[in-house]
């Protein structure tokens, strides 16, 4: 295991450095603020997808109510600002409310796993959507709540798209680092254990419910953070953000990119946001295109883009290596050869 990490380490480090450099310098080589704004959207939706991936990928719990949690922190921010609170207070309150509602979600839905979990999260998400839609004295119903202005941490006003991009980038990098550490920690290993063998984990003395509960809280934290970035980005929140389609969209980001991988949700978020915002300007039936791409993913790389392309890469590399030295072909390779 250690050999494997060491072997891929150099290549991976280079790749990470290149991507990081590209992200940091993006505002300099991209023409026009429109594309910088698309970049910001990709970053905070990637944080959202990373949050959902904790549950879907590492805990094996598929949630269809995450847009509700995303929206509740966005609404909390907007509502606090409307009451006249400062940005710091609003963000803090939104984080607390986001994580607390995730805790309530978790207590109610962790009674089951599998399809039961999906159905309960779906119902809870719809309840939040209904509240946003009909609790008119707080949310103003369909009209939504406008948010005026963005915070200015350390004197950098986030009203400027480039500054907002860098703020999103910092949050994104912190989120990626958090997930990276989380997954490699003993707790992460225990979480994946509850995904693969819950009964055995139980027998070994792990508190399966509690492990899942903490994973939910972590997922809720990332979701709340992305919800706050979203509301500051759009300067507006309305019930459509909490709708079932929004939950399905972020789930598709995770599934298409590759659940249970660090890069998967990021790639998935990029794919969905680029098609939704950029490609939809060129192709009227962009919904159809998105659907076709998902079908292609399911057929060609059913495990998701990231693990799927790694698999295809290995397959190609192995075939090249196997041709001159066929004698050394390992038996595991037969698994994929037709």
């Amino acid at each position: 295991m250690i050999d494997l990490i060491a072997g891929t380490n150099r290549l991976r480090l280079i790749a990470i450095a290149v991507v990081l450099a590209a992200l940091v310098t993006l505002p300099f080589w991209v023409s026009g603020i429109y594309y910088i704004n698309v970049g910001s959207q990709i970053l905070f939706f990637a944080v959202f997808a990373l949050g959902l991936n904790i549950l879907v990928g590492y805990a094996g719990l598929v949630s269809l109510g995450h847009a509700g949690l995303f929206g509740i922190s966005a609404y909390a921010t907007a509502y606090m600002l409307q009451l006249g609170a400062g940005h710091t207070t609003a963000i803090m309150v939104a984080l607390v409310i986001g994580v607390a509602s995730m805790a309530v979600f978790a207590v109610l839905s962790l009674r089951s796993s599998g399809i039961g979990f999906i159905m309960i999260t779906l119902a809870l998400g719809q309840i939040l959507w209904g509240l946003a839609y009909r609790w008119i004295s707080v949310t103003d119903g369909d009209n939504g709540i406008p948010v005026r202005g963005r915070p200015a941490p350390f004197g950098y006003s986030l009203t400027d798209p480039v500054n907002f991009y860098y703020a999103s980038l910092i949050v994104f990098i912190v989120a990626v680092a958090m997930v990276f550490i989380f997954v490699r920690s003993p707790f992460g290993a225990a979480l994946m254990g509850t995904r693969d063998q819950p009964r055995r984990m139980n027998a070994l003395g792990y508190h399966v419910w509690m492990i899942r509960f903490y994973a939910c809280l972590f997922s809720g934290l990332l979701t709340a953070v992305s919800g706050i970035l979203f509301v500051y980005y759009t300067n507006f929140i309305s019930p459509q953000t909490l709708a079932l389609t929004a939950s399905a969209e972020v789930l598709l980001m995770v599934i298409s990119g590759g659940p249970g991988t660090l890069l998967g949700p990021i790639v998935g978020a990029t794919l969905v946001v680029v098609i939704k915002t950029v490609v939809s300007g060129f192709i009227e039936r962009w919904n159809f295109l998105l659907g076709a791409i998902f079908v292609a993913i399911v057929i060609l790389v059913p495990e998701g883009i990231v693990p799927g392309s790694v698999r295809l890469w290995h397959l190609i590399a192995r075939k090249r290596a196997a041709t001159p030295a066929a004698a050394e072909a390992e038996p595991t390779a037969t698994e994929r050869t037709p």
């Binding site: 023409s31 026009g32 603020i33 429109y34 594309y35 704004n37 959207q41 839609y133 009909r134 008119i136 119903g141 369909d142 009209n143 939504g144 406008p146 005026r148 979203f230 759009t234 300067n235 507006f236 309305s238 459509q240 953000t241 680029v274 939704k276 915002t277 950029v278 490609v279 939809s280 300007g281 060129f282 009227e284 919904n287 292609a296 060609l300 295809l312 190609i316 037709p338």
Partner: protein, 413 residues
């Protein structure tokens, strides 16, 4: 083996194609004698698409009529689909303003879309002409870059209420409309004028925008001699079906969306005798409207309704405004000012001008649904001339009252 190669090739080709599509940046704009860039925010997917597609058809009809020339400049047209969600509207308005660098924007369709972007539009100083309701954008929270050549939510309801009280002699009315700003403002306007003319609104019923079945709401209609409905999109059809099925016979009055001409071809007998008030009517007999209706029928095979006409007129205003500004669009404040000073005679809705807040002053038509030659038609009964958003009220007094809302004016018991 060969199958793998094709698959790999396919992947490579797809990736290359995707990369090309993503990184195809627009070339820099040329400063001199550049085309006038006109953006449209509309809804082409989702439940609001019917009106949204008509909006685009209205603009295209005008562009064709003018050979793509506004005020001596070639028009470059950008259409964006917001998907009917505020977040989508924000993304698309950024696309139009920041990437395509449009000189003026037509749309969006719905009030909640407009509310999501009004501050952004004011910050970016891009003139915007919308038919979305949202009263306060031309009243208590005016946006200096905004024009509304169609009507505020309540602008058609004031004359409708006047007609209902004075000509139809209705005394007690139940209002029923969707539970969002456009519905609240329509019904508020109706109530204000209707009660001023001696009538009384006995109850206000608010079904949500997405209501699977109107039966429980229709069941609440009682103790009245008339009903005012303010539904939008395709909801009027479903409401009227349920209303007729419940055996209710009270006369129904409606606004521009409740009796839209575009709905005529899918109406049923339950609509016969319904009154509506609209800033556009299909049977207006002036040259401009005849041209417009003929072109819409020829190019798209449909009768235009309020959405198509609204955008056709909006494009006319941009054209005329650009002429008044001498073809210059760099100074956006001056362009907006020129558009607001536009006075038109030959439009599909008749005479039109703007008040100092950017809202239209124009004619409003009272129509009744009738059957003629096997088709349903909206027959115009009366025209209210030069109606402003303030109706007959004094502007100061009107603006000092709160904006029409769910609870204003209150229902008196």
């Amino acid at each position: 083996m060969s199958r793998k190669v094709t698959r790999r090739r396919f992947m490579a080709a797809t990736a290359a194609g995707a990369a090309l599509a993503t990184f195809k940046f627009p070339s820099p704009a040329i400063a001199q004698s550049a085309p006038f860039k006109l953006g449209l925010l509309t809804v082409k997917t989702g439940p609001l698409a019917q009106g949204g597609i008509q909006m685009e058809q209205g603009v295209l009809t005008y562009l064709r009529e003018k050979n793509n020339m506004f005020g001596g400049r070639k028009v470059e047209f950008f259409s964006a689909d917001t998907g009917g969600s505020p977040a989508g509207t924000k993304t698309k308005v950024q696309e139009l303003v920041e990437r395509d660098k449009v000189d003026a924007i037509l749309g969006p369709l719905a009030a909640f879309e407009l509310l999501a972007i009004t501050d952004y539009i004011a910050e970016n100083k891009t003139p915007m002409l919308s038919l979305a309701g949202a009263e306060d954008i031309t009243q208590r929270r005016p946006n200096p870059y905004f024009l509304r050549p169609s009507a505020t939510s309540a602008q058609a309801m004031h004359p409708m209420a006047d007609y209902a009280a004075k000509e139809l002699k209705l005394k007690r009315v139940v209002t029923v409309s969707e539970d969002f700003a456009f519905g609240h403002e329509q019904m508020g306007g109706f109530q204000e004028t209707f009660e001023g003319a001696g009538g009384k609104v006995v109850a206000k019923i608010w079904p949500p925008l997405v209501t699977p079945d109107y039966t429980p709401f229709v069941a609440q209609i009682a103790d009245c001699d008339g009903v005012c409905q303010g539904f939008a999109g395709s909801n009027p059809l479903r409401f009227m079906k349920t209303y007729a099925a419940a055996g209710l016979k009270y006369p129904v009055v409606a606004g521009e969306t409740g009796g839209d001409d575009a709905l005529l071809r899918i109406m049923g007998d339950e609509f016969l005798g319904m009154y509506s008030c609209c800033p556009y009517t299909l049977d207006l007999a002036n040259d401009s409207n005849k041209r417009f209706v003929a072109a819409m029928q020829k190019d798209f095979g449909v009768d235009p309704g309020f959405y198509a006409a609204g955008l056709y007129v909006a494009a006319q205003v941009v054209d005329e405004g650009l002429k008044l500004a001498g073809g210059k669009s760099d100074d956006r404040a001056a362009l907006t000012k020129a558009m607001r000073s536009v006075k038109l005679k030959d439009t599909p809705r008749g005479d039109l001008s703007f008040d100092h807040l950017g809202n239209v002053v124009g004619d409003f038509f009272i129509r009744r649904v009738e059957k003629a030659g096997g088709k349903y038609v909206n027959k115009t009964l009366k025209t209210y001339k030069n109606v402003s958003q303030f109706w007959t009220y004094e502007e100061k007094a009107f603006l000092s009252r709160p904006v029409y809302s769910r609870n204003y004016p209150p229902v008196k018991s």
